[in-house]
């Protein structure tokens, strides 16, 4: 049985841990707010981009001269999985749920006889995937030194992906990230970005506006498609960032609550032991006095 002193030390250390998790929760909450605002600020741009692209792309998709980013390379033998995860842990199942989704997809693709390559953004995903797919990871990018996610980071990633696509290293690219639904719910998502999946405009939307194009339609499209890639990646990174803090906040909230429970239980045992010891000492004194 642990001595009273040992128990006191244990309670004190649990309290210290609770203070840390509590502080982390509050930091995550305030960072979450900032990440959420950033994600919301990026939304109008991405939405407009989607609208314009789908407008032009539906017209161009059928034509034989459509760019490869839109029409694909004609086969789907080699898949690139662009896996975006966080840089840090202590965020519940955030990183592992993204990795799990990517891993399942990779295994099913391999079972179909396809070739799979990985591009990892973020340390945590890289570390988890490295165990199983070390040879398939073609590139790994750390965002640890980035304090404020900027569009430049997304452009950087997009450029690297495009360079590999132009070199013919893969046919299909899928982006994995965690979509931020709410603080308690983040949904790991797979989104195909090359070739681009254009949503069919709703049938009841009426005739779409016929635009004049300056310069020509296909030239705009060739400018726009690489750009759109960067925008999609940027959006994924921002959503991921918000999801990360959301997940961390609820994980730390849980940890704080668990620490509270532990402290209560330990204090109860401590007090019981203390009383038992006092009682024992009293009995010893009394029986000692009686013996005289």
């Amino acid at each position: 049985m642990a001595s009273l002193k040992d128990m006191r030390v244990r309670i004190a250390s649990t309290k210290a841990t609770q203070k840390i998790t509590k502080a982390m929760q509050m930091v995550a909450a305030s960072k979450l707010r900032r990440a959420q605002t950033a994600a919301e600020a990026a939304r109008p741009y991405a939405e407009k981009m989607d609208a314009v692209i789908s407008n032009i792309a539906t017209a161009a998709a059928g034509s034989p001269g459509a760019p490869a980013l839109l029409a694909g390379t004609g086969n789907d033998q080699v898949h690139l999985l662009l896996v975006c995860t966080g840089e840090r842990g202590l965020s519940g199942a955030f990183n592992s749920s993204i990795v799990r989704l990517a891993r399942e997809r990779a295994l099913s693709l391999i079972a179909q006889g396809k070739e799979v390559k990985f591009f990892c953004v973020g340390r945590k995903g890289y570390e988890q995937l490295r165990r199983q797919f070390d040879k398939q990871i073609v590139e790994h990018l750390d965002l640890k030194s980035v304090r404020q996610l900027g569009f430049i980071n997304a452009e950087d990633i997009a450029r690297k992906v495009l360079a590999r696509f132009d070199a013919g290293e893969f046919d299909v690219c899928t982006l994995f990230y965690s979509r931020f639904k709410s603080v308690i719910s983040q949904i790991p998502t797979a989104q195909q970005i090359i070739p681009l999946v254009v949503e069919e405009p709703a049938a009841n939307a009426g005739p779409s506006t016929s635009y004049e194009y300056e310069p020509e339609e296909d030239e705009i499209l060739t400018r726009l498609l690489p750009r759109n890639l960067a925008v999609q990646i940027f959006r994924a990174l921002l959503e991921n960032n918000a999801s990360f803090y959301g997940a961390q906040m609820s994980a730390m909230d849980n940890a704080t609550r668990n620490a509270g429970d532990m402290i209560r239980k330990q204090t109860l045992i401590y007090n019981r032991t203390r009383q038992a010891q006092i009682t024992k000492e009293l009995i010893e004194i009394i029986s000692g006095a009686e013996a005289l």
């Binding site: 407009k48 569009f151 506006t209 635009y211």
Partner: protein, 135 residues
């Protein structure tokens, strides 16, 4: 004067949104002004200065490439970067230009052409800013 709705969005934020009289956009194939009731157009934007006129006041915003879309709902400019002329850090801008010049030597073929074109646009922006500042 009839006004129309204008949104200027960059990936990081909504830089401008509101009713305006006129917007002059630096298009790839030349500057063009947009007034209320303009025909639907999708145009690529080159790095340059975008002028917003509303209620007699002018506001100049530097855009570094992007896309402009005019529809019956108004004008939307998707800018790669949008900074107002007051906010621009001129020394940093000059540094960017110097950096671009230095990188020219590494490039070749059509990439070189693009780089030179982009550099020219940047220089003309710098020129315009410095001349307007003297008034």
């Amino acid at each position: 004067m009839a006004t129309f709705h204008f949104d200027l969005v960059s990936p990081e934020k909504l830089a401008f949104s509101g009713e305006v009289d006129q917007v002059d956009v630096p298009g790839v194939e030349g500057d063009f002004g947009v007034l209320a009731g303009h025909a639907p157009v999708v145009a690529a934007v080159r790095p340059g200065i975008l002028t917003i006129t509303s209620g007699g006041t002018h506001q100049k915003i530097i855009v570094l490439g992007g896309l402009a879309e005019v529809s019956e709902k108004g004008l939307t400019v998707l800018a790669d970067v949008a900074i107002s002329t007051q906010e621009l850090d001129r020394t940093q801008f000059a540094e960017t230009i110097a950096e671009m010049e230095a990188k020219l030597a590494e490039k070749e073929g059509s990439e070189l052409d693009h780089a030179i074109e982009r550099l020219d646009h940047f220089k003309s922006i710098e020129h315009q800013i410095s001349t307007t500042a003297m008034h």
